[in-house]
Symmetry: C2
């Protein structure tokens, strides 16, 4: 297992004793952000959070934050989780003052809901057991509500929800290579465990798809939903979906749905005494799969 | 009944035989509009609708539209209803083509849901039996969801819903002078029938107040909810609410809630054979009350 012993893994698992790790939970409206990841010259969630943390604390260098799910431009979050490390002598009140000040300075489209010391071995990305996203669609069976246009994608076809749910269970769920639904990344794996993919129609007629997996590769949720929309509208059939999935190679016939309908709802972590073990396990699997 | 015979009333009740009246139903996100009513130099809903109607049809003058409820800047609508008159030789296909073209040209924050010939005697404003609004609040009992910030008002106090609902039923409902909750208008009356004012907490913890009346005067819904919020937070008591209401004069201690939480949800009209009679009745009452 060469990956486990690499310097990258060792650094993150063995914590620096002069710092304390913090967990911050936040929600944001992604409409006016160029995504999570910091990019010079663009307004990003990571950029805003790091800038304000650094400004509020007596530190010399920018405080880097690590998130559970790096959302794309226009994608929202209700349950994003991040961690960062602070010198032991900062935030000695358990983070209450920093939390209050963050609440006041952050822009209206970012809301923090929790700040506290992280459990031992906690890593926002690698300790996670699973991520849950929702993708919301207004299809041709209902009138489009302009008040929802930032968080719901409009599709003109009428979608057959039963057909979509059946195809999801029969073809997409489980442990497999999701290469057909991922933007290829050099040296990365697209093997994931898709734990849940199911749609329901809300009272207002909106289709709400819950998509849950141990982890997602880039554009995976939006591509999975795009493939199901093709089947639900009757433009494609189950055979097409099964073949595309089996081929496990990025397929241009799979539509990547627009970002506005997507929201990261929840990231689940194990009990406190399992945080470090889970992080080590995730890293080991990722390294082995390369 | 001098009002009934005035030239204004007579013009609207007796329709011009060379034109046909149309009913258009629409929804809009009010966030980026300076309200419904046209104002030179400002982006308004009426301005957009009239501009596009006029541009799509072979007419020489701007087509004026009349709405059921003139919403303020930042107020939304899911069920706004308007009427306008077109020469008989236009839209002879029942409006299908005009509807389709309107759908395509209108900006993303206005969505039309119906267009058709209006029933005899129909007047979007005067034929209405009642208007239903909702006012949405996120109070201190739940974390604020930034995805809802355009349509839900954030209040930091924790609100006692039972106390608010009781006060509404005991003090506010019914036929009375709502002068305490209206911006005074010269020559206008503030006597209205408040048919429903009740809050519920949604699954997500949002307080949703339904406010229904035969008609509303300016800022009435937002002032009624503002007064109830004062009572629900414990900052004011029922005696204060009863006294303010009884005084029936605009009271600066009543907070007008921000516009973003307010949505015009529905306008109800009588059966087709009662549209003209209802318009006449409304006008008569308004004139007599002056």
């Amino acid at each position: 297992m060469p990956g486990v012993m690499s310097s990258t893994s060792a650094t993150a698992v063995c914590e620096d004793p002069s710092t304390r790790r913090w967990r911050l939970d936040l929600a944001y409206d992604g409409s006016e952000f160029s995504g999570w990841a910091i990019q010079p010259g663009f307004r990003t969630v990571q950029g805003e959070v790091e800038r304000w943390l650094t400004q509020l604390l007596p530190v010399e260098h920018r405080i880097p934050v690590v998130c559970a799910g790096r959302t794309d431009a226009g994608v929202h979050a209700r349950g994003q989780v991040v961690h960062f490390d602070l010198p032991m002598d900062l935030a000695t009140d358990g983070g209450a003052d920093l939390f209050r000040r963050l609440t006041h300075v952050l822009p209206q489209d970012i809301v923090v809901s929790h700040l506290g010391p992280a459990g031992p071995g906690f890593h926002a990305r690698f300790s996670a057991l699973w991520r849950r996203y929702t993708y919301r669609i207004s299809d041709g069976t209902v009138g489009f509500d302009p008040l929802l246009r930032h968080t719901v994608t409009r599709v003109t076809d009428r979608l057959d929800l039963a057909v979509m749910n059946e195809a999801a269970v029969d073809i997409l769920l489980g442990f497999q290579d999701f290469g057909a639904f991922c933007k290829r990344k050099a040296g990365g794996t697209s093997i994931r465990t898709l734990l849940e993919l199911q749609g329901r129609r809300t009272e207002a007629g909106i289709l709400e798809f819950t998509v849950r997996a141990d982890a997602f590769c880039h554009s995976m949720v939006r591509s999975l939903v795009g493939a199901l929309v093709a089947v639900g509208s009757g433009r494609r059939n189950r055979t097409w979906l099964a073949e595309v999935t089996r081929a496990a190679a990025r397929d241009s016939t799979v539509r990547v749905m627009p970002p506005g309908g997507l929201t990261l709802e929840e990231v689940r972590y194990p009990e406190a005494d399992q945080l470090g073990a889970r992080a080590l396990e995730t890293r080991t699997v990722r390294e082995l799969a390369r």
